[in-house]
Amino acid sequence: MTSHPSQPPVQQPDNQNPGQPPAVGAPAPGPADGVPAPAQQPAAPAYGAQAPVPALAVRGLAKRFGEKIAVNGVNLDVPAGSFYGLVGPNGAGKTTSLSMATGLLRPDYGQVWVHGVDVWAEPLKAKRLMGVLPDGVRLFDRLTGEQLVTYAGLLRGMDRETVAARVPDLLRAMDLTNDAGTLVVDYSAGMTKKIALATALIHAPKLLVLDEPFEAVDPVSAANIRDILHDYVASGGTVIVSSHVMDLVQRMCDHVAVIAGGNVLAAGTVDEVRDGASLEERFVQLVGGRTQAEGLEWLRTS
């Protein structure tokens, strides 16, 4: 959220403000019944000469499933070249937000730009800029690991030679060289995550969106992947990771957004958001819901 000069670096959006729809110069539908669309930043991201184009800009993103409002008007700016963490309790709307930001799920309201390209107006152009690791989807697991990564590259329209050159590199980076010919269906959970990550990297995207990338990945591989991601950011790429491991996000990311109940509770650099406390403490403060340990008095071994 740092790229908006008019906004305080750490915002505390109040959702009692059902003002105008997030009109961003597009066909602006009124707020859905039951979906109060907070007009936190009603202006379209106007990128002047002084403000660099954010890698990902999200305005008024909202989605409801039946009665449940999963995402309630999310606004986010992910600066180019940042390592951005998205944290939130289970069911906070992280995956739904990221799915809508990456073109996997059509939002009810709101708009998303990737390096200035509207994801829902020019999906193919936007998808070329993004590498996505969705959470909770299957892979084409009757392919071998090598075939799967090759498949992802060829689907992107890359030429065969480039794909053939990059696949072994990726497999080596993920420590999967010895399992390259094994069917993905026979991979362990951590290996599956790693091969999925490799499919997201093959086309050298400008923005990486990773939903829970470290789940079930062993510490050594996780450290290797972190190194890869840090190098990638250092070379100008942007990474967005969602996680509920605060410690990891605090150490790894330079920016963070806290999402709960489909709203962004705080966003900014990690230091701004944690405000002197640890990220975990700040997170619990923002999200609430801590129950005191007295709750289970009978749970005593003595």
């Binding site: 498949y151 689907l155 696949v167």
Partner: protein, 523 residues
């Protein structure tokens, strides 16, 4: 505890309906069908009571043995038709073994097959209403028999799950399982032939079964009605002993399952073999085709249709051998063309959420459609040509080759075009990746039938020109009409294929995220 397990099963059933109204429709239709069959069955048994007791006994023993066999084999072949109460899910709960066994057994009765079996078993008492002792015995035996059915299915499934935890076995059994299904016709034909050739085949079979664990329990009421008290007692003993042994075996396997988590030994393989990916062009469409072809050979859900290609001629041959007239075999090509070209009409549903890769990579609808069509055509075109020409080699009638191949190729091309449109628009639930090809998700049948029947109707209309021309050619004997059918079939089919790919691709492009959501519903 037992009540808990039964309630859990009921809740699972009810929550299953809540997920989609189609599911409820499917279950209601299935239930109505079951009620109809049951009513017929019980009425038939009632009328049996007016015949000789021997006759009633024979029917009951044969039917009952078949029911036992069904319960033992069908779940095993379908690798766990109903795993909602999978013992593996109770590993972490310290449920006493005895209660777990009882709870799972009674829980196994909840559901259409269980209830149908129970009602049918109880209903078979209707055959014995004229013999009070036999009637009482029949009700008692119904209880034993139903319980045996459930326990039997649990034993065979848990025995096979040890094997089935290896993916290779699961894949293989799924593909091989289709063989008896396709050959059901010839098999029953063989059995009925056997009946006809020997008059006393059925009575002797009944006697044999009545002393085997499969039929013993069903023979008891009949024996009582006939006054064979000793035999009845002995058979009851066999039945109870069988139930006890099965329950004991089940307990053993359950005890083992509870402490042995499934483990899948896999050998690591280095890469270097890209398979179809190196044979297909390095474009998005080529990649989709390569991926789809790999699935045709490696995914049992596609493998099952692959295996049935050579079996269908066999089944048709046996079907026609009754009449002794094999001219109909000449139309084998069009049949295979229809089956195979329509096999990709649910292609995206088969991908399930793996389809997300197509969405994130932004592959164009046209490339996706072309790739899937090419993969299917690589298999379907040679198969269709072969099965169109082959019957002529045996039967002759070469003058019919042109019209028949016109229809076959027309249907193949038109069907591929139609599938390209259908799979981008009308999805229905199919077996999940890695599941048995026989496992139809409950309640999906209604929508599936609707889509498939609709597709068949539309395909018939689209291919009408070549069909009409071919029929004229066949009936007039004028070769000109046959050649016209061939030309029209190929040209019109090709045009419709292109139209299908373009239209399907456009639909795909405009609703890719919605497609992903639709197939993601089936988990």
């Amino acid at each position: 505890m037992v009540a808990h397990l039964v309630r859990l099963k009921l809740t699972l059933l009810r929550n299953g309906f809540k997920r989609s109204p189609w599911q409820l429709v499917g279950v209601i239709l299935g239930g109505l069908y079951a009620v109809g069959v049951l009513a017929l069955l019980i009425a038939g048994l009632f009328f049996l009571s007016y015949t000789e007791p021997e006759m009633a006994r024979m029917v009951v023993v044969l039917g009952g043995s078949a029911a036992f066999l069904g319960w033992a084999l069908i779940p095993m072949m379908a690798t766990g038709v109903d795993m909602t109460l999978d013992p593996a899910r109770f590993v972490t709960f310290a449920v006493p073994m005895r209660q777990l066994l009882l709870g799972l057994a009674i829980g196994g009765l909840v559901g259409i097959p269980g209830v149908v079996t129970l009602v049918a078993a109880l209903g078979h008492a209707a055959a014995w209403w004229q013999h009070p002792v036999a009637l009482v015995a029949a009700v008692l035996c119904a209880g034993i028999a139903t319980l045996t059915c459930v326990v039997l299915s649990r034993v065979t499934t848990s025995a096979s799950t040890t094997l089935a935890s290896s993916r290779r076995f699961k894949d293989l059994s799924g593909v091989i399982g289709i063989i008896p299904l396709v050959l059901l016709g010839p098999i029953t034909l063989g059995i009925t032939e056997g009946f006809r050739s020997s008059q006393d085949f059925l009575p002797s079979l009944t006697e044999g079964l009545a002393w085997s664990p499969l039929g013993a329990v069903w023979a008891v009421p009949g024996d009582l009605a006939l006054g064979n008290w000793g035999a009845a007692a002995a058979r009851l003993l066999i039945a109870v002993a069988f139930l006890a042994v099965m329950a004991w075996l089940w307990k053993l396997s359950l005890a083992r399952a509870l402490v042995t988590p499934p483990y899948n030994a896999v050998s690591r393989k280095a890469g270097g073999k890209l398979g179809w990916f190196s044979r297909m062009p390095g474009t998005p469409a080529g990649a989709v085709a390569a991926r789809a072809l790999i699935y045709w050979f490696k995914d049992p859900r596609y493998g099952a249709s692959l295996v049935s290609i050579p079996l269908i001629p066999v089944a048709v041959f046996f079907g026609l051998s009754q009449a002794g007239d094999f001219t109909f075999m000449l139309w084998l090509g069009p049949m295979i063309a229809f089956l195979l070209s329509f096999a990709i009409s649910a292609d995206i549903a088969y991908d399930n959420t793996a389809f997300a890769l197509h969405v994130t990579t932004g592959v164009s609808g046209r490339a996706d459609r072309i790739g899937r069509v090419v993969a299917c055509a690589v298999i379907a075109l040679p198969a269709t040509v072969l099965l169109t020409v082959l019957p002529f080699v045996f039967i002759g009638e070469w003058h019919l080759l042109a019209p028949v191949s016109g229809v076959a190729l027309g249907i193949l091309l038109t069907g591929l075009g139609l599938s390209s449109v259908v799979s981008a628009r009308y999805t229905y639930n199919v077996p999940l990746p890695g599941e048995s090809p026989f496992k139809t998700p409950p309640g999906s049948t209604a929508r599936m039938m609707l889509v498939q029947l609709g597709g068949l109707g539309v395909l018939g209309l689209l291919a009408l020109p070549e069909i009409v021309l071919a029929l004229i050619g066949v009936f007039t004997g004028e070769p000109l009409w046959g050649w016209l059918a061939l030309v029209v079939g190929v040209v019109l089919g090709a045009v419709l294929l292109v139209v299908g790919i373009v239209l399907g691709g456009r639909w795909y492009d405009s609703r890719t995220p919605e497609l992903l959501q639709a197939v993601a519903k089936n988990k």
